[in-house]
Symmetry: C5
Subunit: 351 residues, 5 copies
């Protein structure tokens, strides 16, 4: 088993250091800025910080969190709270929603398209009045379909404001877990088939690895469901009545994901039992063969030993039919024991 | 073990696609429409979309979700919300109730009459003011007794409106789980008898399969109970006082189902212990036979080996009674060991 | 193990059939009616339906639910709700309390005096204004002490009305579980002693059977405690202030029962561990004997085999002290190995 | 393992008997009365029922519950409720607090100083207006320090009234569990060391016995914590603001006790795993020795058997160096196998 | 395994002793006083009790709790409640927050920099109006960065008052668990790798030790999270609106810690399964080798035994090719059995 990911999360801020003093990580991915400013009538896409205009909606997206200057500029231009910015650059936050008056700050975890085991990156989102600012840990995301809809002049998303855009982004993140879980479900099915068919030493480690992935996914989805419950209870401050209807739908999807994860966890737990039972069964099988052979031949070997003794006065040795009789007796004993074993159900390997 | 059903659920909508834009699945079952319009005085059954009339109650049922035109026509005629329609065509929703002002949208899971393991299909139900619209995944359902009651002019259901019809349909779905669980209970009893009687390698997989079925059934019933709790708390908006009395009864049945499922889960968990103990016991049995045989004959074989040595000067070999004495000694040792084993309780197989 | 009771419960009503249309089961026990009408001054006991009088309290008890005519007559005379009557004749209801305006409908489960494992029968109780009507599944009940108190003109129960009678009946049912649990506790103690003393193959099935009984008892007591909590929260509608004081006491007893059941469940779960450990220990014991014997004699048998070879040129065979020296060497090896085993703690069976 | 205590609790009241009709148990401990009447200025200790005086506080304590006349006299003098008195004489109540208008009735469980395993006795306490009445199951208690404080004219307890005395008694009971748990903690540590060092057959029963004691202690402490929570929520009816501050402290101690109990439960559960692993490891060790010996000598014994055959035409037997060569070959095989085992890590016992 | 720490906690106060009468422990660490008085404009650090001044903030820190005179003087100077002081000197309190009108009393647990396993010391904190008083069990703490910020005239902490200082200290304690958990995470990873690679007897004890450490850490962090929830719900009494924003951040960190602990607990539980499976697998491996060798050579040894018999009339012995034929037959049998084993998948050790 290769461990799927390291459990330890490094925090860069030393314990006791002042809060709200954030600094980017020089080892983080290079920063790229992308801004989309749109209204029903127009769409503008630029790679620099946009000038503010009034009645259109702005989505400012930053991939990669290395550029301190850029992030500081955005934070000060849009009045992002230092505590929130600290969470933006300190990865491994739990998904959460925090209300900073000026902005609603939301942290999400988005699956990354990695080979091998599940991995996720942090997406930090600020919903303001007329603008949405997102910070992603890595380049590449699941938001392309949303961008495509924004570029389509006929799409209703163009006229629905920043709260609906926020919903659309959350929804894209939530829905991106479905293919991840489907792939994992297939792996679990394959492993289940293998475990039931034949116990192999490495399977327990595979089960453990899958359990670990499920744990990781679960710890990403659970808080996102809580987050959505929180947003649904929000009474009109950030989300319009209509957008809340969509959020309810999204909340429902999060619930489905949790159902799937819990089902998978239950199944993998059951696999441990099957695996142990299968190991035990395999041992039984081996022991039965050994017992069969040993039990038949040990008495016979004793008998031939008897007639290998060198006593001068062993009358059987002189008998005309001594040898054939002994051989016949031994055959009878061997066959008798074998029949007894068959009657006990010990013959025939797996049965 | 054949896996009872695949765990993976395919969603057709790509992550990030716009919400409320639903499309039927060309691979879905063929659509059939059936409408029943009834009042205390009259009943009309047609297979086309009915003209609206005022004071009678309408039940519109669609089996099979392939026909986009038909579904779109119904959705627009009756003002069904696009988000709800999306859930209608995207199967594998969790049972739930959502209030869309114009309609109360309810999703149920109904057992399908399949051979082999448990399977369920989705039933989506819209309760409006004077009409009930149901969409079923597959042809064939558990509603025939309800239809029979509707056709009976004397049945009270004819005079009780759409909310009572909704109750009757939910009740039919809930009650249809009783025979399913009874059949499963019988399988569990049979397996329990088998496991207790004699451990067999495949039983752990059978237990696992039953656990999986219980999990599937549970994940269908639990949310339906929650749904009924929600409907019971509804204060007169959708259900009359009298119908709520019936819903309480239905809620009670859902509770009984959950009790049964939890009991079965508990029992099957216990079967794993019995199975493992039984395997371990079987191994003990095998080991005891081996130990018995080996422990008796290995020392004897040593003795005959001694007198098979070719030393020129072994006085016993020349003795007149050497051979019989050695045979007698060995018999004594063999019998002694056997008696010792009996005293330790190792003789007699299963005991 | 004989399974203590079948898990499957048969419902007679087909799914989808109209609610509130109840019919007695022809296979049910024969119906017997017994009425007690009492006040502080008088007591009248008859076996027919009583004429109504105003200021006295009536307890109408029906044993056995076969007689449709009788039950219908009672239901219509006292205005019992059809949904409640349906629960009366459909056994296996969960204990519950439902308020039907005219009556408070309560379902209880009462232990039956059966040999062997725990069984319970359903008691349905209607508390009206001045009357209590009970329907029991089977003849024979735990209410005799209550009847005796009613027959005693000095007993305070005579002056306390229908709500106090209801309390007295519930209390009799709750308290009747104490002897049941005491008997079960003794069985658990006996089993515990047996498991600790010596692992036997059948014990795991015994543990499983006791677990099943505990589960059944628990599923009867838990909802009765909830029911009592509900009655305690009732604000004067059905129970007087004073009677509620008694109900609190009864609730407390239900709590004690649950404590006992949970303790027993915990103990029986622990017994599985002890049993498996004991099996494993037994196997260790057997293996040690085998290993001891085999490890001592296999090398010795090899040595005697060496001197049984027929090489013409084996000088030891000709030596004068060859035979005694070999015998002495083998004795030394055997004793040495035995001492080594003792040092490792492998001698002496159980230790 | 000796079972630490019997699980079955005998109730003397038959099911269905009238409530509030209490009678002392003739087998109970002999009753002793002790009264302390105190104020800041005076303390009076007598062994008879005191005459009432107005402004001092009275603590009436009864050890042993055999004397019906005495208990009846106290109950009627102080107006104790019959339902509460029933709980006083029926031992094995769960700790609880019940408000009977005239008195606050509290049931506690106090550890008894028994050798061997944990045992507790019931303490029933009535807090009235200016008096505290306690009934103890057995002579001997943990209240001596409180009495000492009462006898000390300078102690603040003298001036603080009945509610503070009640607190002081509850606090003494709660704190008396700390030494009990400390002793148990030492036993768990010793057992843990033993289990880790070397698996012994009886350990699982020891673990089970400790688990049982923890269960018993837990079922005494948990309800006392709930009881304290209830008293803390009481708004001035029975406890003064200042005394509630002390009760909060006491509640905190109860919480600490629960923490300790839960930690111990967790540890003992882990010991089962260690024990089973250790048993399994021991078996591995035994098997490896057997396999080592058997695998080395069985092939060698075959070889010497070959040259023990009596074929007339076996050229090796005549060779000059036949015997030494065979011996050398066998030595080589034996050493080779032993080296192979070492390479596989099977040599060296425990490793 | 060396037990990481003793479970038993000694309380010095005897049960029943008067509350609020606290005394320092002569065995405690020597007391050192350090006072920091600061405002935006000035900072004064002294090692004696400071004279009170009005508008600056005071942080009084005591390391080591041996000096009764000093503690009494502080307690009386600042009006600390005796019940709180009792908790200060009685170590092993659970983290908690208690409101004593004059002060908010907070107990924290701070990790100590010990080699080996996790240990923590108690930090008691009093937040008053303008002053913070902390009592630490041992010298050395995690507050140096906070002191550094206080010494920096430009740091905002200088102007934010006692509530912010309290936050800063709590935050420093919470954050100091991150490195502890990271180190533990590395140990778990290493152990996981070892367990998966090769089961060793001592691993179960290592798993148990880690589980114990996790339990200890968890029992420190959980109540601190609850404490922070409590402080967050506090409505302005002790913490300003702005400081509560920071406390929310701190609460979030506590949540992350709990997530990590729960994940680690889950993983270590899984390791037990892997370990047991690995042991079982190892046993299978050993058994297969034994069975292989025994099953091949036992029949062959029987055959050579046959031709070692001394019957006078055994024709095969006289045959010219008797010996080579028997050897060939035995080779065929041996090879045949080995091939059969390979076909069954028993050859090749680990596979």
């Amino acid at each position: 088993m290769k461990r799927t990911s390291s459990y330890t999360r490094k925090r860069r801020n030393a314990p006791g250091s002042p809060p709200g003093r954030w600094a980017t990580d020089p080892a983080a991915a290079e920063s790229h800025l992308h801004a989309m400013r749109y209204s029903t009538s127009a769409l503008e896409e630029i790679d620099t910080l946009p000038q503010s205009t009034d009645d259109s909606t702005l989505w400012l997206n930053v991939d990669g969190l290395r550029d301190q200057a850029l992030l500081s500029q955005i934070a000060s231009s849009y009045g992002l709270h230092p505590l929130a910015m600290e969470d933006v650059v300190n990865l491994h936050q739990r998904p959460k929603a925090e209300d900073y008056q000026e902005h609603l700050f939301i942290v999400l975890r988005m699956p990354t398209k990695s080979e091998g085991s599940f991995a996720s990156e942090q997406v930090a989102l600020f919903l303001g009045h007329g603008d949405v600012i997102t910070f992603q840990e890595l380049p590449g995301d699941v938001f392309e379909p949303v961008r495509a809809r924004l570029r389509n002049a006929l799409s209703p998303i163009r006229g629905r404001g920043a709260d609906y855009l926020t919903y659309a982004l959350i929804d894209a993140v939530i829905d991106s877990y479905f293919p991840v879980l489907e792939k994992l479900g297939e792996r679990i099915e394959a492993l289940e088939d293998a475990v039931v068919l034949r116990s192999e030493p490495g399977q327990i480690a595979d089960i453990h690895a899958i359990k670990h992935e499920l744990r990781t996914i679960r710890s990403a989805i659970w808080p996102m469901r809580d987050l959505l419950s929180t947003l649904l209870r929000d009474d009109g401050a950030w989300f319009s009545e209509q957008t809340r209807l969509y959020l309810r739908d999204c909340h429902d999807h999060a619930f489905q994901l949790i159902d799937m994860v819990e089902t998978y966890r239950d199944i993998t737990s059951g696999l441990v039992d099957i695996h142990l039972s299968s190991q035990s069964n395999r041992m039984n099988e081996v022991m039965q063969v050994l017992t069969l052979i040993a039990t038949i031949f040990i008495p016979l070997t004793f008998i031939v030993g008897v007639y290998g003794m060198n006593f001068v006065d062993m009358p059987e040795l002189q008998w005309r039919w001594g040898y054939p009789v002994v051989m016949a007796v031994m055959t009878a004993i061997g066959v008798g024991l074998a029949l007894w074993f068959r009657a006990k159900g010990w013959l025939g390997g797996r049965r």
